[in-house]
Amino acid sequence: MDDRVILRVGAKILIPFILLFALYVQFHGDYGPGGGFQAGVIFAAGFVLYALIYGLGNVKKVLPPRAVYVCSALGVLLYAGVGYVTMALGGNFLDYGVLAHDPEHGQHYGILLVELGVLITVFGVMVAVFYAFAGRRRVDT
């Protein structure tokens, strides 16, 4: 892909905005459409674009498969962890109201943390699926 200047430069310009947009979708999720799942997919799309233009080897330097693996497990832990914390603070599982003095703030923090967990896992799984398919050797050649 060394000669595709437009693609290389275009990707370089786009990727930061894709990642930023993912974070916007994530943190604006409680006011408008969006949330952890969509944000995770968009965030992963940034890395997939990088891999398509600059090659799988380069993206694996930035994001080793092991990190992807850890991400996909970590998100679930964060999600359930918030649930355990709310239980420890005397609420029901995922009752965010107890997370802060003002229940309204608690709900706010809770949903952000839980959605962050969703983002991390969805991002990890999406990239893992991409690595699995992209890393396959062709049978026909």
Partner: protein, 491 residues
């Protein structure tokens, strides 16, 4: 902490799964799996005793009151199902260590345990939730992890078996979610109890019978009722031994539970059986399953495949019990959930022992195994007797109630088919026994008994077969309570 038991039952395994994946070490991940399943078993037994003593337990997730929030409801029926699932899980997890080391490559073992615990999480979630959309979510969790578990089988055909199950299972799940969606459109609620209240108002519309039909087809696909069982034989045959033992004893049982929940609690027996006349479909299919699948089982050369077809026939017994829509019939069906889990768990685990030593479960490789592996084959014989329904085993108890339920409604031919099924079971069990005990072993092969860590869980189930066959009062009590609750909910 006991207040939180209904949710902890599900979320402790949910956390254990990523931890098992993160540890990424065969032994450590295994230890996490064992701990998670033991916890789940403890929680399940505790919930069962609480709900038997004090009635249904409700738990509001996130503190949002039902019907707006998601609610977990534990009553005698699903507590019973949860005990079955966790009991099998807690026995398969210790069993898996040695069996899995032999059948799965080392780098995949941590992921195997993660998928195993996730599958358990999904099955438990389906059972305890009181929200129909939550059912779908957990159904997907358990199904997707089950596809992955089956694909880990050492035979390359495991991949096609898993893919076949994935396609069929996804069709089933889609039908279920379409049915749920249609119900939601008509009633505006997803809470099971609320749905049961609101459905009668709109049951005259065309949408609700359509929803009912989608749910029926979707769930019967998941529980492998003849003729929607085609995914099952391959999946059970080529999955790793521990996976077969786990899935065969739990996944279809949970699907039968869903059938009960939707038809009795949500739609109500009057709608399901008087208006939609579900029994006219379920009963013939169940009877065909019992006879046809037992006949197919007789001709199998691979014992796991033989047992898989036998499972389809046994599912016929459960569905037959349900199709009577009487307290006795439901008791028989619910009882057989537990009894069949004990039977098939023991049988598939003994085949796992054979797989471990011999490397195959084909009949031609099992000549003379009765002498080489006395404990393993003895376990198979007791499990087989129980499958046939010999007195003093759990199989007999199930058949006894089933025949009683048939006679109560004057259905002599149906009782005849149940007994014919036992006769056919005798034929396919005997086929294995004959090869193992009455054929000369190949003298060049040195085969020794399976290790204790495989035999001990197998024999716990075998002894369970005998114990609950002799002293069935507890299991019958719980099943009767559950059956009365299901039929009482409608009147």
């Amino acid at each position: 902490m006991t207040d939180h038991l209904p949710v902890l039952l599900v979320v402790v395994p949910l956390v254990a799964a990523p931890i098992a994946a993160l540890l990424n070490h065969p032994r450590l991940s295994w230890a996490v799996a064992v701990a998670a399943t033991l916890w789940a078993l403890y929680a399940a037994l505790e919930l069962l005793s609480q709900t038997m003593a004090a009635g249904a337990i409700h738990y509001e997730l996130g503190g949002w009151a039902a019907p707006y929030g998601i609610e977990y409801v534990v009553d005698p029926l699903n507590a019973w199902v949860v005990v079955i699932v966790t009991l099998i899980g807690a026995l398969v997890a210790p069993y898996a260590r040695v069996s899995v080391e032999r059948e799965i490559t080392e780098d995949r073992i941590p992921l195997f345990y993660a998928a195993f615990i996730l599958c358990l999480t999904g099955l438990l979630g389906i059972a305890v939730t009181g929200d129909v959309f939550n059912v779908f979510v957990f159904l997907e969790i358990s199904s997707l992890s089950a596809y992955a578990l089956i694909a880990l089988g050492s035979d390359r055909r495991a991949l096609t078996a898993s893919f076949q199950y994935l396609i069929m299972g996804s069709v089933g799940a889609t039908f279920i979610v379409i049915g749920i969606g249609l119900m939601y459109v008509m009633t505006g609620t997803l809470n099971m109890a609320d749905l049961a209240d609101r459905l009668p108002e709109v049951s005259g519309t065309r949408t609700i019978p359509v929803a009912f039909t989608f749910l029926t087809v979707g769930i019967t696909l998941k529980l492998a009722l003849f003729p929607l069982h085609l995914w099952l034989p391959n999946a059970y045959t080529y999955a790793p031994s521990a996976v077969t033992a786990f899935i065969a004893s739990t996944a279809t049982k949970v699907a039968v539970y869903l059938l009960l929940r939707f038809f009795f609690t949500i739609f109500g027996a009057t709608f399901s059986f008087d208006v939609m006349q579900l029994d006219r479909i379920l009963m013939p299919l169940a009877l065909i399953a019992i006879v046809a699948m037992s006949l197919v089982a007789i001709y199998q050369e691979n014992v796991k495949r033989l047992l898989a077809y036998s499972s389809v026939a046994q599912i016929g017994y459960m569905v037959l019990g349900i199709s009577f829509a009487s307290v006795l019939g439901l008791t028989a069906g619910i009882l057989h959930l537990f009894n069949h889990a004990l039977i098939k768990g023991a049988l598939f685990m003994s085949m796992g022992c054979v797989m471990y030593r011999v490397g195959s479960v084909r009949l031609e490789r099992m000549h003379g195994l009765g002498r080489a592996m006395p404990w393993t084959m003895a376990a198979f014989v007791v499990g087989g007797l129980s499958l046939i329904g010999v007195p003093l085993t759990v199989g007999f108890i199930s058949k006894w109630y089933l025949v009683q339920a048939a006679l109560e409604q004057g259905m002599w031919p149906v009782a005849g088919v149940v007994l014919l099924g036992s006769l056919l079971a005798l034929m396919y069990v005997w086929k294995v026994v004959e090869v193992a005990y009455f054929r000369e072993a190949d003298p060049e092969l040195e085969i020794s008994e399976a290790p204790l860590s495989l035999l001990a869980p197998t024999w716990v189930l075998v002894l369970g077969n005998l114990y609950f066959g002799i002293n069935a009062s507890d299991s019958v009590d719980i099943a009767t309570r559950a059956a009365e609750m299901l039929l009482g909910a409608l009147s």
